[in-house]
Structure formats: C-alpha cells, structure tokens
C-alpha cells in the first residue's frame, strides 16, 4: 500500500498496528498514528522509539487527550473511531470474536467507510470476526490492487513503475518529483528507463520482465511452491529462482517456511 503512495493510519498499539507503522517507515512512506493516551504519556512504553521514529520521518501522531492522560481500555476503543474517520477505507486483517478490531469495523460502517477483509479459513479463530464482516458485506481482498481498484480516484501502479522508484533508492538518481509523476508519469518513466538501461543494478531484459509478471500474478497469500509455479508457467527452475529473488528483494513477495512464496 505504501508503495502505491497511500498514507497508512493506525493506532500504534503492539502487534499489527506497530508492524504497519514500521513497514511504512522502512519504505519512507507516510503514516499517521492515533493514540489512546496523552502525547507525553506514551503507551505502550516500548513504543516510545516508534513514536520518535514516526515524528522524525515526517509522520503525524495525534491524540484527542491532554498531554499527561493515561491510556484506558475505553480510550482504546474510542481512539478507533478517529482511525477509521481519518481514512478512506479500513483493512481488517484479523479479528477474533468480539474483539476491539470489530469495534473499529463498526465505526467504519457508521462513518460510511469501505471495509476490506482478506479471507480466512473457517475454523481459524483469528478469522471469526472478519468472516462475520464478510457476511455483512465487507469487501473481500487478496492483493493491494483489490483495494486500490475500489476507489475511482486511485490508479494502481504496476510493478514496472514501482520498480523504478525502488531502484531510485538504491542508486541516487535524482529523485522523481511526486507531483510531476502523477501528472505525467508515462513520459517520465520512459525517460527514466533510458537513463537506467546502462546503470541498472539488477539486470532485467524484456523477456525477464515478462516472466516476472507471469510469476508475480501467480503469487497470492497462500503459499505457492516453485514446483507449482513451474508447472503453471513452464519457465525453467533457475529462471524462476532468479525472478523470485528479484521479487523478494524488491519486497513484493516473501518466502515462508516450507519453501513456498506469498505476496506481501
């Protein structure tokens, strides 16, 4: 999502909240944290560093409470209405039965925000709440693109485009101006490809780009093995390995236990 230029709002709690903020910072994206406590009384204690990191990286930390106020479980739930209120959509990754996350979803629905939920297996206790949301009409998603496509004013940027941004990070080419990119991305990218052709760190020819696309399309959020990819694409194993490597270090996919790959 960050790579798509989306700002991520969350609650800086332990778990998925912190993971989300940290992921944004790693990618130098934009993030907003909404606290259930005063700004001078950070809870939880161990997130003080994250608090500093967000502020130092052009992030925003908000609180509706006076500076010294302590966090309480009631405030946790109240805070969530600001999280969803600030957002154009809410992605609920996991929710147990009657959990706090379910409350966020309720606020989101009241505030007429879109609610996105990845599917969980029946019987998965972390999926009880999300499956219930699906029944109530939440939007089922498996990829970043699924979310982006739900907003008419957003356009999904495909890998090529992001790749260029990524490489920019590795190689100190003059950074692309964000506004300009949006206005006239096509021409700019073509120009950049020319510049990059000789200087690229990762050598990718057009045939490989093709393979990259084919392989990336196959990778969803249940693990797929190299053999399965091979069977479906007929690309040879060493090429597949090479593509998976590129996709992985670019952060699109992740290797998991058992040797399979999932999308990020």
């Amino acid at each position: 999502m960050v790579k798509q230029g989306i700002t991520i709002v969350s609650g800086m709690a332990i778990g998925i909240d912190s993971i989300a903020h940290k992921a944004v910072l790693e990618e130098h994206g934009n993030t907003i944290a909404v606290l259930p406590c005063g700004l001078e009384n950070i809870y939880p204690e161990e997130n003080k560093k994250l608090f500093q990191d967000i502020i130092n990286n052009n992030g925003l930390v908000l609180s509706e409470y006076p500076p010294k106020k302590q966090a309480t479980s009631k405030k946790f739930l109240e805070r969530n209405r600001i999280v969803s209120g600030l957002s154009i959509g809410v992605l609920i990754v996991e929710a147990m039965h009657r959990s706090g996350t379910s409350v966020t979803a309720r606020y989101a629905i009241e505030q007429k925000r879109k609610v996105f939920v990845p599917p969980h297996e029946i019987g998965d206790k972390n999926g009880v709440g999300t499956n219930k949301l699906l029944k109530q009409g939440a939007i089922i998603v498996t990829k970043t693109k699924d979310i982006i496509d739900n907003f008419k004013f957003l356009k999904y940027k495909d890998m090529e485009e992001i790749k260029l941004n990524c490489e920019k990070k590795f190689k100190n080419i003059s950074p692309i101006d964000k506004k300009q990119t949006q206005k006239d991305s096509k021409i700019l990218i073509n120009k950049k490809i020319e510049v990059l052709k000789n200087k690229r760190k990762l050598q990718i020819n057009s045939k490989e780009t093709n393979d990259l696309h084919k392989i990336y399309e196959l990778i969803e959020n249940t693990a797929i093995t190299i053999d399965e990819i091979q069977e479906k694409t007929n690309i040879n194993i060493s090429k597949i390995n090479n593509c998976l490597f590129i996709l992985e270090i670019e952060g699109y996919i992740k290797k998991v236990a058992g040797g399979g790959y999932i999308c990020n």
Partner: protein, 512 residues
C-alpha cells in the same frame, strides 16, 4: 631345517611384504608363532595343524617356530594360514624347494580344518603391492581369483585345498587360470535406482544436480513421506562418472571389508551409505581395537546419507568435522598410524520441526516457536558450516503427475554434471582440488570474483533477506557451480540469485 615363504599383509589400504620363516628342530614338540602376531594369528596354529593332518600328512612331533618378519608390523587376519602351512611343509621337506619359485611368489589364504582354502579380504590391495614389488606368482583362494586378475601382469594360481598345492609344488599337478575372458569394465555404471522414478520435485532435483556438479554437501528439509530418503538414494546416480583410478580406490576399500566377490570383483558404482542415527562415533569414522573402517570410508567417492540428522547424537556428529575437512581419516595405533580415504558427499535430511509439519500444506504444525527453534538448534553451527545447500522438500501428489510429465533420466542429468565437473578439474589443475566445494578462502577470492553489480546485489540481498554471515562463502561456491553448469566463465546475477535461494536455514523465518 629352515624355510622362508613370502606373503603380504595390509595396514590400512597399503600392503606390506612379510617373510614367514619356519624352523623345525628336534626337541619338545611345540608350535610357536613369534613376530608380533595378533590374536587371530595365534589361532592359526590349530587350524594349520589339523589342516595338514587332514591333507594326509603326518604332523611332526618336533619343535616348530614360526617367525613373521619384520616384527614391527602387527599382523592380523587369517590370510597367513596358507603361507605358514606351506612353510612347515617346506621345512619338513614334504614339498620340493625350487628357489626361483619361492623367491618370486607370495601365498595368501585361510585354511579350514579339512584343508580347504577359504576366501580372504583385501586381495586387490595385496595384488597391487605384489605387482609393485615385482612378485611374479600369487597363490590364493579360488574365490579371490577374479578380483586378483584386475591387476594385470601377475600369474594367478588359484588353490582349492592344501592337497592341491602340495601336488602342484611337487610337480604332480598343473593349475591353469583363464584370465582372458574377464571384461574388466562394463562401461556405463548400472544403478538399480534412477531419478526418473521421482515424480515432480523439479526444484529439489535442480538443487541436487548443482550439489552433484560442485560436490556440495546438502541438507534436505521436509515433512515425513515427502520423499527425502528416495531422493537421497538416487544422488550417486547423478554424480560424475568414476575413472578407473577411482573405481580401484573404492574397490580396494570394499575388498578389505570383504564386500567384493567373484561375481562382483569391481565396484563400478558410487557407494551410498546410510547409517542409522544410533551409530557410534567409532562405527561412523572408523577405529577401535583392531582398526575397522568407518561408514565415512565406505562412502568414499560416494554419498554418506544421514537420515533424520537431528536424531543423531551431537558428539557423534562432532567427529565428522575432521573427515569432512581432510577427506581422510587417520587412526593411530601403538606403533603406526593408518589412514583411510573418506572423500564423500554429505547428504542430510531432517523434518522442519518436531512434529514434522511446519510449513506443510497437508497438516497443521502443532509445535510452538520455541520448540522449533530448539529443534533447529540441535544441529551444531560447525556442522551447518559444512553444508552448502539447504533445500525444502514438499510432498507432491505424484499419482496425478505420473502420466503427463516426462521425468529426466539420471544419465541425462549426469551428462550435464560431468561437463560442469570437467570445467572445475581444468580450472583447479594446479591447486590439488577437484570441485568448487573444496575452495578455501584465498581460492574463493581468486575464482569467484564478482563484478560491482553482483557485489551490490549480494549486499542488498543480505540486508533485505537477513541472511547470516556464514552464508557468504557458501553462496559464492554454489553460484560458481551454477555458472559452471551454465557454461559461464563469470558469476552473473542470475547465478547468485539462484544460489541464495538454496540457503533456507539462514532465512528469517527459521530464526524467529
């Protein structure tokens, strides 16, 4: 009268000439063997006495002294029965003394009580030494004749029993050995298993092809029944073809443990050894009172497969470190040190966690993260340091695959492996190493140069994938082999990328 008969004994794989001197004199009827005989030789006394009697010759009631010289070599085994018996017969003038014949002949063989001459172990290295010493004739058990004839230029005289040799030496019997219809090398080695029997698993097969091409040790990680054992058993079939020298080396080892026969005098296939995890360290690397060969030597030039690596005793595995490094094992004795070769490829297998199903699609894993961490940590760091390739094996639904997919035969994979190995032999001619896996750190710098681009990629990969630093040299070596398989002189990005994929255990998701 005094007689002198020659024989050859083995220390390790090396033969040593031994003189058997027999003196028969008047006096108290005794029978003594001197000259550092082992316990098995002291037992020869009774066998020789009774065998001579049963050959129809009155055993002399005289004072008999047998001296085995040189006395500084400890003699073991039953192969001295025949030369001792011949020495006694000669000293008591029961057989004719022909100076040339006895000077140019050696005698080896075990006697049974009825005078039959039984097969002995180690005939090949004995014959090799005999030829080196310029010996012309070798008197040996019939069962050993074919193996002995591997060594060209020796006159082989196969003996059935003591009676026959007496008649032969007295000129009353002719013994002929037909040597010419034995075709020494069959050409293509024939294995009774083949890679084409493994359906699917293309990714693992590719990894094993790389392992075979570069001589890389390999760890297979997968749930029960995923086919780890099946795959490992087939690795010898894709290792490079053995040359004659290597075939002889393996045959020598199998000869001294008695695993060769007239039916199979030469070992032309690469060994596959799969010791159980309850094995002791002595059986694994060899040694003991009368030094025995260990599994590592029986796996020489082939594969040593440690199934369920985590079940092995940590101390047992510790003793593998030396042999893995030196490719030979030295067993110290009181007055000698015997060394056996053990240049093997290590293939290990393990489950990904105690219950076996971590990351599996068939069943949910029931282990806690702590249990998994403990399980993985059972393998010691130094052991892991000697394993270049880690690969996950997933079970395949091979019933569905069987008809539509054509699987490659071992011989086709082996062709590619041969080509890649030839490149390595050529490159390392001056360095006394044979494969990429043997590169030391200086050689690594010399032969695994990376250009700036590749260096940067490796840096990014280490950072992004959180690889541990011990992965570095392994990745380079494996990348070198992948480049060799692709017939490329330089390591390129795609070679590095693929090599990095074979470092599962260094990945974050194992470390928690």
């Amino acid at each position: 009268m005094l007689s002198n008969v020659k024989s050859i004994t083995l220390l390790g794989l090396k033969g040593h000439l031994i003189s058997i001197q027999v003196d028969i004199s008047r006096g108290m009827p005794t029978f003594e063997i001197v000259g550092l005989p082992g316990t098995s030789i002291k037992e020869a006394k009774e066998r020789v006495k009774i065998a001579i009697k049963n050959a129809g010759i009155e055993f002399l009631s005289r004072k008999i002294v047998v001296n085995l010289s040189p006395a500084n070599i400890r003699k073991e085994g039953s192969s001295f029965d025949l030369p001792i018996a011949v020495g006694i017969l000669l000293a008591s003038e029961k057989v004719k003394y022909v100076k040339e014949l006895f000077n140019e002949s050696i005698f080896v063989g075990e006697l049974s009580l009825d005078g039959t001459i039984e097969k002995i172990n180690g005939i090949l290295p004995i014959c090799i030494e005999a030829k080196r010493l310029g010996i012309k004739n070798i008197f040996l058990p019939v069962q050993n004749a074919k193996e002995a004839s591997i060594v060209k230029g020796l006159n082989i005289i196969p003996i059935n029993n003591l009676k026959e040799i007496i008649d032969f030496l007295n000129g009353n019997l002719e013994i002929k050995f037909e040597n010419n219809n034995f075709n020494m090398l069959k050409g293509e080695p024939t294995y009774d298993v083949d890679f084409s029997e493994v359906k699917g698993q293309e990714n693992v097969k590719r990894a094993l092809e790389i392992a075979a091409a570069g001589g890389h040790n390999c760890l297979l990680i997968g749930s029960p029944g995923s086919g780890k054992t099946m795959l490992a058993k087939r690795i010898p079939t894709i290792l490079p073809d053995m040359n004659l020298e290597e075939i002889l080396e393996v045959t020598k080892i199998y000869s001294i443990v008695g695993l060769t026969s007239n039916e199979q005098p030469l070992i032309e296939t690469r060994p596959f050894r799969s010791p159980h995890h309850t094995i002791t360290s002595t059986s694994l690397v060899g040694g003991g009172k009368s030094p025995k060969l260990g599994e590592v030597s029986l796996a020489h030039l082939g594969v040593l497969f440690l199934d369920e690596l985590t079940e092995f005793n940590k101390n047992t595995l510790e003793v593998l470190r030396g042999p893995l490094e030196d490719r030979k094992i030295t067993i110290s004795r009181i007055n000698s040190a015997i060394s056996y070769p053990c240049n093997f490829m290590l293939i290990a297998s393990m489950n990904p966690c105690p219950c076996g199903y971590y990351g599996s699609k068939e069943k949910a894993c029931t282990c806690t993260e702590e249990q998994i961490r403990k399980y993985i940590n059972k393998i010691s760091g130094p052991m892991l340091d000697r394993i270049d390739i880690h690969i996950e094996v997933n079970s395949v639904n091979y019933d569905n695959l069987s008809s539509k997919v054509e699987t490659e035969k071992s011989i086709d994979i082996r062709k590619r492996v041969n080509t890649a190995r030839k490149k390595q032999l050529e490159r390392y001619k001056k360095y006394k190493i044979y494969s990429n896996s043997e590169l030391n750190s200086t050689q690594l710098e010399l032969f695994c140069k990376l250009d700036e681009k590749c260096k940067r990629i490796l840096e990014i990969a280490f950072e992004k994938l959180a690889l541990s630093s011990r992965a570095y040299s392994r990745i380079l070596k494996v990348a070198r082999t992948i480049a060799d398989l692709a017939n490329s002189d330089n390591i390129k990005q795609e070679h590095l990328a693929e090599a990095i994929q074979y470092r599962s255990l260094d990945r974050k998701y194992w470390k928690h």
